[in-house]
Amino acid sequence: MLSLQSRRPRNRQKDAVGASRLLKNNPNLAYFEKVEPDIDGDTPGTEDKYNCDAGSFGSSVATNDNGSRIIVGSPSGHYYAALGMVTILYNQNSSGEEVWVEFGTIDERVSGFGSAVEMNSNGNRVFVLKRIDQMNALSYVSSYELDESTGEPTRHQIGQKLFEFSPGCSGFCPGRH
């Protein structure tokens, strides 16, 4: 069994680092052991590792059933980085070591995108919520399929955006999803 935690800095300064942490349940033990290393969004003083706002990296997380894939949201939405995106990684665990490799990013460049994420059991379909915030008064859910059939990981949106609302439409104001 796999558990997932995200670390989001309380103090949202530019160099603050968001991260995702995995914990694995050892069947012989009655507790979860931390999987090393954490998946950090950035290292302070360097370029953002996943080209995202590292301060919000880890705001939302989801995995597939066997824990080999993870999607991490960095919705941002504050003054210095008004964009939101998600990063999808897979575990290239060939030598018993945890090696997380970027599968790809979904970058809509709108604040609040990535506030919540979901991944299906196979890890080939993901859902991303764009939440209303101070920077962008629109809410919706986008769904994507991940494709590796060509050898090059790609993703494409499936269907239309769902649950599209803005505060202007009949007073509907989604604030929490």
């Binding site: 979901e118 809410s139 769902l162 604030g175 929490r176 999803h177």
Partner: protein, 62 residues
């Protein structure tokens, strides 16, 4: 926002409304199931959907 096991159904909720959508394979289209659910006097804060996607739960604390 939550999805069922097959990721063919998704429930999305705000504080006062909830919608359930089903994906129609082959048409690349999501269709809303039923009408938007109104909370009435409740305020939703959490949602869940079972694996089959035929049962949903809406949490309203307080």
């Amino acid at each position: 926002m939550k999805i069922n096991s097959a990721s063919s159904r998704v429930i999305v909720a705000s504080r006062y409304y909830a919608q359930i959508w089903v994906y129609v394979e082959g048409t690349s289209t999501w269709i809303q199931i039923g009408s938007t659910l109104d909370t009435g006097s409740l305020v939703y804060s959490n949602v869940a959907i079972n694996g089959a996607g035929d049962i949903i739960a809406l949490g309203s604390p307080g």
